[in-house]
């Protein structure tokens, strides 16, 4: 049986929904491809379906659910008596509230400790904003001073070490390979056997001055460096 335009129109949705048998599908395609009217109709319905499928879900108004519940279950009554008065306390038992409370407490603890609040002998006066500010300011300045001093000391020690290392790495001349000094003899001074060259003498003196100047930065070291003979400290 050859299909006509009426057949095409009657089976259009079946064709688009994939409900036709292979034979019917073939007949449909045969007619639709040769008939301009049917080709146009199939194209317009396909276009319409794409438009219908582009109509996606619309969001209902947020109050709709509550309106329906009010209409069916009735308006929600406000709690009365003690339950109404202390109903808000039930919100405090939530995990979210507990987490927030712990965070706030930890922050306060850190701030008070940093501001010098004494936990052993707590005083109300220590909690006044002016005291907290003064203590925090003082602590911050002290911490800054300590850090600066530490860095400075560290720099001096490294400088001494680097100069000593540099001195050891200097090329030695044949006459100064083994500066055997006898106990109690100052470096560079002569003991009558092998007199030091003027160059050795100058270098030893210069090194001593430099170390003394650098050691002034560290009180603990300056006493030792100034008291002991320099020759014993230099390997």
């Amino acid at each position: 049986m050859t299909w006509t335009c009426e057949h095409i129109e009657a089976h259009l949705s079946d064709y688009l929904d994939g409900l036709l048998s292979p034979d019917e599908r073939r007949e449909f395609a045969l007619h639709a491809s040769s008939c301009e009217h049917c080709t146009q109709m199939v194209a317009s319905i396909s276009h319409l379906l794409s438009g219908l499928h582009s109509l996606e879900q619309v969001e209902p108004p947020p109050q709709l659910v509550y309106a329906i519940l009010n209409k069916t279950l009735g308006p929600r009554e406000a709690k009365k008596g003690w339950r109404g008065a202390f109903g808000w306390l039930s919100g405090l038992t939530s995990a979210r509230f507990a987490y927030s409370a712990v965070s706030v407490a930890a922050t306060l603890l850190i701030l008070l400790t940093a501001s010098g609040f004494s936990w052993r002998k707590p005083k109300l006066a220590d909690l006044s904003p002016a005291t907290v500010y003064r203590n925090a300011n003082s602590k911050a300045h002290l911490a800054y001073a300590h850090t600066t001093k530490f860095v400075s000391d560290l720099r001096v020690v490294y400088e001494i070490q680097s100069r000593l290392n540099k001195d050891n790495e200097l090329p030695t001349t044949p006459e100064s390979t083994v500066p055997q000094s006898s106990p109690g003899k100052a470096p560079g001074s002569t003991d009558g056997t092998r007199p030091a060259t003027p160059r050795q003498q100058n270098r030893a003196n210069g090194l001593r001055r430099e170390i003394e100047v650098l050691a002034m930065g560290i009180p603990a070291l300056s006493n030792q460096w100034c008291r002991q003979p320099l020759g014993r400290r230099i390997p």
Binding site: H11, S13, H47, E59, L64, K71
Partner: protein, 210 residues
């Protein structure tokens, strides 16, 4: 055949989910009938969006759709005891109640209705999946969806409800048969005629297939 297995599994999963939803709905209805208010609240939350969409597509007006959705749930709440799960899913039963209310509403407002213009329609937010579409494509689709919505309201109610249930709510023919309470042949015929009529209206509006 990997694709066949994949689609087979997908269909199985979808079927399982549908069965699971049916079971949950039936359970909630039972709880409601025993006086459980929270079960009713859950049912309302699960079906509000779908019912509102049917009403909105049928009327083309957000305010009317909101009022009708409330009426649907009120009627369902009052007649919940008459629901029998053996006769079909709760969602299908709700769709049937909705359809009856929409037809009543259409007849009631027929005299008052002067024009089907959408100019006074309350704007609603369309939840479009715009990912992967170019702005010009989105614009074209938006325009087309607006025109289709306008054309839908010009369709006769019998054809409109059939097209909405099939092409917008993606219901199967047998489900539509249950909702409309007509033979499956009539359902097919109405969907087919509805689509052709809708395409004709769109053509009159100057919308041509690209």
């Amino acid at each position: 055949m990997a694709p066949c297995n994949f689609w087979g599994k997908l269909v199985t999963v979808a079927g399982f989910e549908a069965d699971h939803t049916l079971e949950q709905d039936a359970q909630l209805v039972q709880q409601c009938l025993q006086g459980d208010g929270s079960a009713w609240e859950e049912l309302v939350r699960r079906h509000t969006r779908r019912i509102f969409n049917i009403c909105y597509r049928f009327t083309g007006n957000g305010t009317e759709a909101e009022d009708l959705s409330q009426e649907v749930f009120l009627r369902v709440y009052k007649t919940l005891a008459s629901y029998r799960s053996a006769h079909g899913g709760f969602a299908t039963w709700m769709s049937s109640v909705t359809r009856n209310l929409l037809i009543d509403h259409y007849r009631r407002t027929k005299r008052d209705r002067i024009t089907d213009s959408l100019d006074d329609a309350m704007p609603v937010v369309e939840n479009k999946e715009s990912a992967g579409r170019r702005p010009d494509q989105q614009l074209l689709l938006h325009e087309l969806s607006y025109q289709v919505q306008a054309a839908l309201t010009k369709l006769s109610p019998e054809l409109r409800e059939a097209v909405i249930l099939r092409d917008l709510q993606q219901l199967e023919y047998n489900e539509i048969r249950q909702v409309l309470d007509v033979p499956e042949g009539t359902v097919k015929s109405r969907i087919n005629r509805g689509r052709i009529e809708l395409a004709r209206i769109l053509q009159q509006m100057g919308v041509r297939p690209s």
